[in-house]
């Protein structure tokens, strides 16, 4: 593959990886800081049984954080990107079910900045875009700026 193509591919890889990481880390901050509020938002979707609401509210933000940090570092990139795909599928299903049930609620994805903004179908489009980006990062070879590639080079030189 020519150098230009490789640089374009790596450039896309970096942007996609950092965009995903930034989004997930930004999304997890208020959820980790305010677990009760996030639990309430999970409950509002009326999808999970009450017994699983808190577990979801506790674990999900930490998955977002760990995956976000791994994507920034470019460590185990494909596995981390695969998790973002799974989470985006879950978000899309949850939003679609809430819209189908005509529930008037905020998505609870980010901070209270979005308070008052009622959820609509555009959120499904947004998450679908993240899903495609996550799938691309999963399927592509990690870009040259990742720790994965650094470790690979070291192994080859050893």
């Amino acid at each position: 593959m020519s150098d230009v193509k490789t640089w374009i591919k790596d450039g896309f890889g970096v942007v996609a990886r950092l965009a995903l990481a930034g989004t997930f880390i930004w999304a997890c901050i208020h959820k980790i800081a305010e677990p009760y509020d996030f639990g309430l938002q999970v409950a509002t979707y009326q999808i999970l049984p009450l017994s699983l609401v808190n577990l979801q509210a506790i674990v999900l933000p930490w998955v977002e954080l760990i995956v976000g940090l791994l994507l920034i570092a470019g460590l185990l990139t494909r596995g981390a990107a695969l998790v973002t795909c799974g989470m985006n599928v879950m978000f899309i299903v949850a939003i679609a079910l809430a819209l189908a049930a005509d529930l008037h609620l905020q998505c609870g994805c980010f901070s209270s900045a979005e308070a008052g903004d009622e959820m609509d179908a555009s959120l499904i489009v947004r998450d679908a875009i993240f899903l495609v980006v996550g799938a691309a990062v999963t399927l592509m070879r990690p870009d040259r700026f990742t720790l994965d590639r650094l470790i690979e080079r070291r192994r080859q030189n050893a």
């Binding site: 639990g39 995956v67 799974g86």
Partner: protein, 179 residues
């Protein structure tokens, strides 16, 4: 390729397990942590759009023959009136002006919709006491409204009662067996 996919999937599963461990551990030591399993209901404020909707009047395009299972006719008149004459294939939910329809009645409508795969529900029924000089009371609209509030979709009310349906050519069954 397959090896990469398997490794990625295992990594992903590992991240979730590690994150769950960190999350549960952190939650356990923080002062504002929440219980892993709550036994107190969250107070959810998410009103349904349907509960705010009002029943619309049915028109000719909403009507079909009683044999057409895509339309469920709900007769809101008292049982005696239903027995005397009713639309073929309809169900009777006697609507009380004072108390409305019962929860069992609403559940019966839901069951019937599910059993038939009905897409529309047309509620009809006006009623006046026999030999009464007072104007007939419309039972259809309040029952339709109650069904909408019970989150049943596709509900409309028909003005004019069973007579209006007969004018539209919908078959009825009389107690004596005639139509």
């Amino acid at each position: 390729m397959i090896k990469t996919a398997v490794v990625s999937a295992l990594q992903a599963a590992g991240f979730v397990v590690i994150a769950a461990g960190v999350a549960i551990g952190t939650n356990a030591i923080r002062s504002d942590g929440i219980p892993l399993v709550t036994d107190i209901e969250y107070e959810i404020f998410a009103p349904c759009k349907d509960s705010e909707a009002e029943s619309e009047a049915a028109d000719a395009s909403d009507l079909a023959d009683g044999a057409d299972e895509s339309v469920l006719y709900v007769d809101a008149r008292p049982a005696e009136a239903f027995e005397a004459e009713h639309v073929d294939g309809s169900i009777n939910i006697p609507y009380s002006v004072l108390f409305g329809a019962t929860a069992e009645d609403i559940a019966a409508v839901k069951r019937e919709i599910a059993a038939r795969g009905a897409k529309k529900v047309v509620v009809f029924g006006t009623y006046a006491e026999p030999e009464s000089t007072e104007q007939a009371v419309d039972l259809a609209e309040p029952l339709a409204q109650q069904l909408i509030e019970a989150e049943i979709a596709g509900v409309k009310h028909l003005e004019g009662g069973i007579e209006e349906l007969k004018k539209s050519g919908v078959q009825t069954v009389k107690k004596s067996g005639g139509s």
